[in-house]
C-alpha cells in the first residue's frame, strides 16, 4: 500500500513530518534497475526524452517550449543565494541574490556557460528584467530560508536536482530537490513548488522519490519525500517504501507511453 500524508505548512507540522517518518527505507537493487530499463526500452522513442514529476502530473501531455523568465530562473538563483547565506551568514538573502546574478553572468563572459543557459539569458537581459529576476529569486530564497530555519534536524540546500540516465533507453529522469534533511543514517528530501497541489500531486511526489532513489549510488531511498506548496500553505509527504517506489516507477513508464501516444496520435 502506498503512503501519502497531508499537513498544514507550519513549523511544528514540518518537524513532526520529519520526526515521524519511518526508521528505514527501501533499497533499489541492480535487478530493479534492469527491470525498469527493460520497460523504458520497450517504449521506443525517436528522440531523447526527459521525464520528471511535472510530466507525470500532466499525464505526459507535451509542455510548451521552455523559455527563461523571472519565474523559471528564481529557483536556481534562490537556492544558490541560500547556499551563499549558509556559507556567509552575515549577508542578507537579498544581498546574496544580488551577488548570485553577476556570478552567473561571469560564467557567460568566461566561456563556461552554454548558449541558452541561464547565464546567457541573464547576460543578454536588460536591467529591469534582471531587477525582476532578483525580486523573484529573493522571494524564493526568503521563503525557503524561513522554512529551513524552522527545521530542527540538520539540513543543507541540495547542491543540484537528482538525475538518472536510464541505460540505452534514451531517457533521463529528473527529481527536484531543494533541502536535504539528515536523520541518523538516512535522509529526507524537501522540494518546494508554487501554486497549490492538484489531484496528481501524490504521483508526482512518488516519481520524485523514485528518481531520487535511482540517482543514489547505493540505491537507498530517502526516508521521506516531502513536497511543500507555500502559496497554499500545505505539505504532502510520501515514505521511502518499496510500494511507493514501485508506484513511482510505474507512473514514469506510463508517462513515457502517454508521451509517445501524444507524439504519434495516428499510431495510437
Amino acid at each position: 500500500m502506498t503512503t501519502l500524508v497531508h499537513r498544514r505548512l507550519v513549523g511544528e507540522q514540518i518537524n513532526a513530518l520529519l520526526a515521524e517518518g519511518p526508521e528505514s527505507s527501501a533499497i533499489v537493487t541492480d535487478d530493479h534497475r534492469q527491470s525498469l530499463t527493460a520497460r523504458f526500452r520497450a517504449v521506443a522513442s525517436l528522440e531523447h526524452r526527459r521525464l520528471d514529476a511535472w510530466t507525470v502530473e500532466q499525464g505526459g501531455r507535451p509542455a510548451g517550449a521552455f523559455r527563461w523568465s523571472p519565474a523559471s530562473a528564481r529557483r536556481a538563483l534562490g537556492n544558490g543565494a541560500l547556499r551563499r547565506v549558509m556559507a556567509q551568514p552575515t549577508a542578507s538573502i537579498t544581498e546574496a541574490v544580488r551577488d548570485e546574478v553577476p556570478d552567473q553572468m561571469l560564467r557567460c563572459t568566461s566561456g563556461r556557460a552554454r548558449p541558452g543557459s541561464l547565464a546567457y539569458w541573464l547576460a543578454s537581459s536588460p536591467q529591469p528584467v534582471v531587477g525582476l529576476v532578483i525580486a523573484e529569486a529573493a522571494n524564493w530564497a526568503i521563503q525557503l530560508g524561513e522554512i529551513a530555519d524552522g527545521v530542527e534536524a540538520p539540513w543543507h540546500v541540495a547542491p543540484s536536482d537528482a538525475y538518472y540516465d536510464v541505460a540505452a533507453a534514451r531517457t533521463t529522469l529528473r527529481a527536484r530537490r531543494d533541502l536535504v534533511v539528515s536523520r541518523g543514517d538516512g535522509r529526507m528530501i524537501v522540494r518546494v513548488r508554487s501554486g497549490s497541489p492538484g489531484r496528481s500531486a501524490g504521483p508526482g511526489l512518488r516519481a520524485d522519490l523514485t528518481v531520487e532513489t535511482l540517482a543514489d549510488a547505493r540505491g537507498v531511498a530517502p526516508l521521506r519525500f516531502i513536497g511543500l506548496w507555500p502559496e497554499a500553505g500545505v505539505c504532502l509527504a510520501v515514505d521511502g517504501t518499496m510500494a511507493d517506489l514501485r508506484a513511482g516507477a510505474r507512473d514514469l513508464v506510463r508517462t513515457a507511453v502517454a508521451r509517445r501516444r501524444h507524439a504519434s496520435p495516428i499510431a495510437a
Partner: protein
C-alpha cells in the same frame, strides 16, 4: 490610524519595535473554522460545478459602485506601477519608470495576451499612460524610501486557499511583504499599492490580505496597509481579531453574492 504622505512608508510599516505583540500562531485555525461553517450555511451540501473564486478585486468593488481604476487604462497603470514597486523593493536603479516597467512586464508575462492591450494604444494614449505611470511612480518612490534588505522584502506574494473541499477558493497577491514569521514577536507587514484614491474598497482589501496571509502561514501578520499613489495617502492598521472577523464576514458576503448571481 491615517497617515498623510509619511516621509518613509517602510518605517511606518515597521512601527515601534518594542511595542510589537507576541506572534499569534493559534488563531488562524479558528478563522478557517469560521469560514468553513459560514460557507456551509451558504452552499450547503450541494457541490457547485465550478468553484467560487474570491479575489481582492471581488471585495474592492460592489455591484452598486464603479471603480475608475478597473478601467482597461487603469488596470494597465496598476500593473505597471506594481512592476516598479517590485524593482524598488530589491534596490534596482530605474532610469525611466514607464519603459522599465513595460520591459519587466513583457518579460514576466511572456504570452502576448495581456500585453495586447498596451500594444493597441495609439501614440497619444501611450504617451498619456506613460505620463500617468511616471507621476504615480514618483509619488510611490518618494513615500517608500529605501527598503532595507535585512527586512526581507518580498514582492507580489501569492496565496491560494481552498475551502469547503475546494468549492471556494480564496486567491490573493500582496504587493509587498516585509518581516518574518520565524520571530517570537509579530513582524510581518503587508503593503498594497493602488493607483485609485482610497475608499471603503481599499479597507476591505487591507483586511482581506491579512486574512488570507493568516490562513496561508497560520500566523497573524503584524499590520496591513494600503497606499494610494493617486493621493499619497497611507492607511495602516494593526491586525487584530476584530479586523480578521470583519474580513471573514466580507468574504462570506462575497461568496453569497456570487452564488446568488449564478
Amino acid at each position: 490610524m491615517l497617515l498623510h504622505s509619511p516621509l518613509d512608508v517602510v518605517e511606518a510599516l515597521r512601527g515601534d519595535r518594542l511595542a510589537r505583540p507576541a506572534i499569534d500562531r493559534t488563531s488562524a485555525g479558528g478563522l478557517r473554522a469560521m469560514l468553513e461553517d459560514g460557507i456551509y450555511e451558504i452552499i450547503g451540501s450541494e457541490r457547485p460545478s465550478t468553484p467560487v473564486v474570491v479575489r481582492a478585486s471581488s471585495l474592492r468593488q460592489t455591484s452598486r459602485t464603479t471603480d475608475l481604476a478597473s478601467s482597461p487604462q487603469g488596470r494597465l497603470r496598476g500593473v505597471l506601477v506594481s512592476q516598479v514597486l517590485r524593482l524598488l523593493s530589491v534596490g534596482t536603479a530605474i532610469e525611466d519608470f514607464f519603459d522599465d516597467a513595460v520591459c519587466a512586464w513583457r518579460c514576466e508575462v511572456g504570452s502576448p495576451g495581456p500585453i495586447d492591450l498596451l500594444d493597441q494604444l495609439d501614440d497619444d494614449e501611450r504617451a498619456r499612460l506613460a505620463t500617468d505611470v511616471t507621476a504615480h511612480c514618483v509619488t510611490l518612490t518618494r513615500a517608500l524610501g529605501v527598503v532595507p534588505s535585512r527586512w526581507m522584502p518580498r514582492s507580489s506574494v501569492r496565496a491560494v486557499q481552498s475551502l469547503a473541499g475546494g468549492d471556494v477558493v480564496l486567491r490573493d497577491v500582496v504587493d509587498l511583504m516585509i518581516g518574518t514569521a520565524n520571530d517570537d514577536v509579530a513582524s510581518i507587514a503587508l503593503f498594497d499599492v493602488t493607483t485609485a484614491p482610497l475608499g471603503d474598497g481599499a479597507e476591505r482589501t487591507m483586511r482581506y490580505h491579512a486574512l488570507v496571509q493568516a490562513l496561508r502561514t497560520s500566523t497573524l501578520p503584524l499590520r496591513t496597509s494600503v497606499f494610494s499613489t493617486a493621493t499619497g495617502e497611507l492607511w495602516l492598521r494593526d491586525v487584530d481579531h476584530e479586523l480578521l472577523a470583519r474580513s471573514v464576514d466580507e468574504v462570506l458576503t462575497c461568496v453569497h453574492d456570487q452564488r446568488s448571481h449564478r
